[in-house]
Symmetry: C2
Subunit: 129 residues, 2 copies
Amino acid sequence: MTTWLDDVRWNADGLVAAIAQDAATQRVLTLAWMNREALVQTDATREAHYWSRSRGRLWRKGESSGHVQRVREIRLDCDGDAIVLQVEQAGGIACHTGRERCFYRLLDDGAWVETDPVLKNPREIYKDG
Amino acid sequence: MTTWLDDVRWNADGLVAAIAQDAATQRVLTLAWMNREALVQTDATREAHYWSRSRGRLWRKGESSGHVQRVREIRLDCDGDAIVLQVEQAGGIACHTGRERCFYRLLDDGAWVETDPVLKNPREIYKDG
């Protein structure tokens, strides 16, 4: 009945890595983790759901920030242990630091250099959260 | 001396997830894992090196297939546990199945559908390997 879920090679913690890529800019925004329920919810609602390892619970991306990820496409890799989502990123901000993407640090001559601006103060993003 | 390596949040197995994205097409090609040495080698040689979890050894991408990944950019995410590489993919084939990318399966109405063609027979790719 749910054979597509069985094609995913869940790790020992029951999780699979999920990359979110901006459908418009093609930038890689986030890498997060999904359990079975998160993937089912992502497919059913077409909004990205993840398993928060730090909070130990299902997490609808944007539930407190409003920065939801509308899902256009869900892809699985050859060995079934990674997913790529094509998403429309609400607010143009995917990172909890208020930046477009989490990958805002570039390795430059032996140092990580911040290349991306903070678009919104996190205190403003999470004031109701 | 190697503080940039200490900014990476290595997991319990000493690994960090590494996404490779094609610098030309912006497609996400692969998700693999790096240990400390793999990241050092990737930076030093500007060719992607990973830790092969199945083989339990350092692995220079393309060492047997010739499908090396020339690295243009190395980025780290906000919490330090994921990397994105911008790469030039030799041969235009990143996947061991002979496809451009590993993410060739699309979720479509409850089934994973293969959307990408095999560009080269894996037997031809690995005949010397």
